[in-house]
């Protein structure tokens, strides 16, 4: 596995230091290997440090203990090889949909005309044709998230880091976006790390689900969840339901533990 591992997280611990109050250990001795073109979900109760792990891989937070390597190089800063889709979209509100998508391309070497075509292609891909000149404040939550996904895909990162990207969406939009994401993933074959606290979403989308413990976050176990992504009825399959139940059981233990520590 190590031969084809693209992302290696080794013995990473991370402390969260709030401006006031005591230091909280968010992650403890996390180790994880992710293959190229793999779709892996990080699942765990809220506050277990799954987003922290994602942002460490993204290079946004300083790695204090342990090592994270991407393609054999240690992560020290953010880079366009690892594209992030944020939970709250993080669009630039003063730029139009097209301006947002173009921003990541402006630092590349593409000539202007090609950047335009490329931006348009990704706007079309996420189904926002006709909204190129809209500002984010004029869009619905689902459309904002599509813009964010188009923006990240447009600069062609090898790795997609997604932080509960569908958490803010309603159930219908969410289900549509999941299918769309799988479609995009199958077309572009990128490595995807997908943070979520929704068990069904994790099992449906990912090939492997890494279940994390309550704070301080560790990898509790990794479950294989490679189902046929093209089967629209997969939700009803016995094997799928059993897998969801199994993982739900694991997460539930941790959620109860997490509540216990909150109550104390």
């Amino acid at each position: 596995m190590s031969a084809s591992a693209q992302i290696v997280v080794k013995d990473v611990s991370h402390d969260y230091r709030p401006p006031v109050g005591r230091v909280v250990r968010a992650l403890e001795d996390v180790s994880l290997s992710i293959r190229e073109r793999e779709f892996i979900a990080l699942l765990g109760p809220s506050g277990c440090g799954k987003s922290t792990l994602l942002y460490l891989i993204g290079g946004f937070l300083r790695i204090e203990n342990g090592r994270i390597c991407v393609d054999g190089r240690a992560v020290t800063a953010p880079g366009p090889d690892r594209g992030v889709v944020f939970q709250h979209f993080a669009l630039f509100p003063w730029k139009t949909v097209k301006g947002n998508v173009l921003y990541g391309l402006e630092r590349g070497k593409l000539p202007r005309a090609e950047r335009e075509t490329r931006a348009q292609a990704f706007i079309d891909l996420v189904g926002l044709t006709g909204f190129e000149d809209s500002y984010p404040s004029q869009l619905s939550g689902g459309m904002k998230q599509r813009t964010a996904i188009a923006r990240t895909l447009a600069f062609d990162p090898q790795i997609l880091l997604m932080d509960e990207p569908f958490g803010a969406l309603d159930a219908q939009t969410r289900s549509l976006m999941q299918t769309e994401l799988l479609d995009i993933w199958q077309k572009t074959r990128k490595t995807v790390i997908f943070v979520t606290h929704d068990v069904q979403e994790a099992v449906y989308l990912a090939e492997r689900v890494a279940v994390m413990t309550a704070r301080p976050g560790r990898i509790k176990t990794i479950v294989d969840t490679a189902f046929d992504k093209n089967d629209p009825q997969i939700y009803r399959a016995r094997t799928f339901v059993d897998k969801v139940d199994e993982i739900w059981g694991l997460v539930r233990e941790e959620a109860i533990k997490a509540q216990g520590t909150h109550a104390r």
Binding site: Y55, G58, F60, A77, P78, G79, P80, R82, G83, V84, F86, Q87, H88, F89, A90, L91, F92, P93, W94, K95, T96, Y103, G104, R107, Y135, P136, S137, Q138, R151, T152, F155
Partner: protein, 281 residues
């Protein structure tokens, strides 16, 4: 019960009969909103004509308007207003450019923040007009000292608004720009500045009337024509309509400046959530 229903019916019919044309409706709203000003001016005219006060104490509005018209025809109004506006707006521009630059520098560099933070904290609430005698000693009585006073007073709200705006930029927005390879410089100019712009604009909207106020006060204290200087000399010559004309002119100019600024804001912040909502100013 029947009475209540009756009232509701009448109200709803009233709405249905309301002017259908949006243009007429807008004029109507404009009049309704400025009704208090119209009432105040009408009260002024009636009180002045009633003979309660001598025309020296309270000249009639019409005679004040006549004076403004005469000043406008002779060119005095233009000269006075342009002198005042030149001082106020030059000082405002210096405060805007200096304030935004200083605010940005203070968020970027710990050293600059360490040096200026206490100065801003002490200086902001302080009446800067207290420095006027010193400024007169250093810079004299002409435009340079007036413009310096305007800039000195107006820079504080711009600096604080810039700092608050830049500090309030969402962490995820900064991260997503860095993710797309933005350098430090690009981050500041392309991301921080536009993201903080609504706040900065609010700071400028506070600084603009301050600029006008300080320009007029310095003119009153140091002379040198302008609207403030004109009012002081009218007062010295016991020219009561001249003094009141100055007040009306200043009010009108101030209103136009504020209105222009909020129109500019709406134009420049088309992307902002507030562009979708009706404006109050």
């Amino acid at each position: 019960m029947a009475h209540v229903t009756g009232v509701r019916d009448r109200t709803s019919r009233g709405w249905r009969n309301a002017p259908a044309s949006p243009f007429v409706a807008r004029i109507g709203w404009g009049l309704a909103r400025s009704a208090s000003i119209v009432l105040l001016l009408a009260g002024w005219e009636i009180l002045a004509r009633s003979g309660t006060f001598t025309p020296f104490v309270l000249p009639a509005l019409t005679s004040v308007l006549e004076r403004i018209l005469a000043d406008a025809m002779s060119g005095d109004l233009f000269l006075g207003a342009s002198a005042t506006l030149y001082r106020a707006l030059t000082g405002f521009l210096i405060a805007a450019v200096g304030g935004i630059s200083l605010g940005m520098a203070m968020t970027r560099s710990i050293g600059i923040r360490w040096f200026f933070d206490p100065i801003i904290s002490v200086g902001f609430p302080m009446p800067k007009i207290a420095f006027l005698p010193v400024v007169i000693l250093w810079l004299g009585l002409y435009d340079v000292s007036k413009i310096s006073m305007v800039a000195f007073e107006a820079i504080f709200p711009v600096v604080t608004a810039t700092i608050v705006g830049i500090k309030g930029v969402d962490r995820e927005i900064i991260w997503s720009a860095r993710n797309m390879g933005a350098s430090n410089r690009e981050l500041l100019c392309q991301i921080m500045l536009p993201a903080a712009f609504p706040q900065i604009m609010t700071g400028l909207q506070v600084a603009l009337p301050i600029s006008l106020i300080v320009a007029i006060v310095t003119e009153m204290l140091m002379g040198g024509n302008g609207l403030g200087g004109g009012m002081m000399s009218a007062s010295r010559f016991a020219d009561s309509p001249g003094v009141f004309a100055g007040i009306v002119e200043i009010a009108a100019i101030g209103y136009c400046l504020i209105k222009g600024m909020s129109m500019l804001r709406r134009r420049m912040l088309l992307w902002h959530q507030e562009a979708l909502e009706p404006s109050t100013v």
